[in-house]
């Protein structure tokens, strides 16, 4: 399953890196603590968070995550979008809150 499949099935907005939606997704990780994600997320996972600042891109890139999904209608900061495009790691968004999104995502990629 890739990022595009997930974006379509969950009707997610694609904010950036539209040409990198073929990235393979191996699982998911939900956390708003950057150190937790650094320490425990695995390569290829899709990251659910409400953090919107550009440091999420640094973490996603260092951990080789597949993509980031922002919850509750949050939108990425401008410099987050730029970095997302540079790194080729998509930032997606949804109006769902984290619990609901995680549940749906778990169902389709478990």
């Amino acid at each position: 399953m890739n990022v595009k499949d997930i974006a379509e099935r969950l009707s997610l907005n694609v904010f950036s890196a539209h040409d990198s939606l073929d990235r393979e997704v191996t699982g998911g990780y939900a956390s708003d603590l950057l150190s937790d994600v650094m320490g425990h997320a695995q390569e290829g996972q899709i990251w659910i968070t409400l953090q919107t600042h550009k440091n999420i891109m640094a973490v996603a890139s260092l951990k080789d995550l597949a993509a980031i999904i922002l919850v509750k209608g949050f939108e990425p900061d401008k410099d987050t979008l730029e970095l997302s495009a540079n790194e080729g790691i998509p930032v997606l968004g949804t109006k769902m809150q984290a619990f609901e999104l995680a549940g749906k995502l778990y169902e389709i990629i478990k």
Partner: protein
């Protein structure tokens, strides 16, 4: 190979840049991906610690056939009680830093868990130095 990166305290817009450069270099040198992953976790945490707590710092990275050796020297307030600072969950980060999802008291434990060798020395009012080493 010896690399050196300057890190400014307080500037979160560039936090992770040095870690990203060193990661690229390790990949180019075909270092075992399992080691690269551990280096990246420890190094990013240590880099963010300089940004979050110190005035400025320098990251020195030495990479050769024996392993990777990192030294992070900062000028900053120092750590009065290292044992307390190493306790998971303990943090002195500002409210602003915490709102960004940093400062959860996981940094030093993450570094320690992801290093082959880890040493920390600190002098209050002067600064802190970390040594983080990996053997191939």
């Amino acid at each position: 190979m010896n690399l050196e990166f300057k890190v400014d305290g307080g500037d979160f817009t560039v936090a992770g840049n040095a870690s990203s450069q060193i990661k690229k270099m390790l990949k180019q040198l075909n270092v075992d991906p399992r080691i690269v992953k551990r280096v990246v976790i420890a190094l990013y945490e240590a880099e963010v610690n300089i940004v979050a707590h110190a005035y400025r710092g320098v990251i020195y990275a030495e990479i050769d056939s024996r392993g990777v050796r990192l030294r992070l020297e900062d000028e900053g307030p120092g750590i009065p009680d290292i044992e307390q600072a190493m306790t998971p969950g303990f943090s002195t980060a500002s409210a602003q830093v915490r709102e960004m999802g940093f400062g959860a008291g996981m940094g030093l434990p993450n570094i320690s868990e992801n290093a082959d060798e880890f040493k920390i020395e600190s002098e209050v009012g002067k600064g802190t130095t970390l040594w983080i080493n990996y053997k191939f």
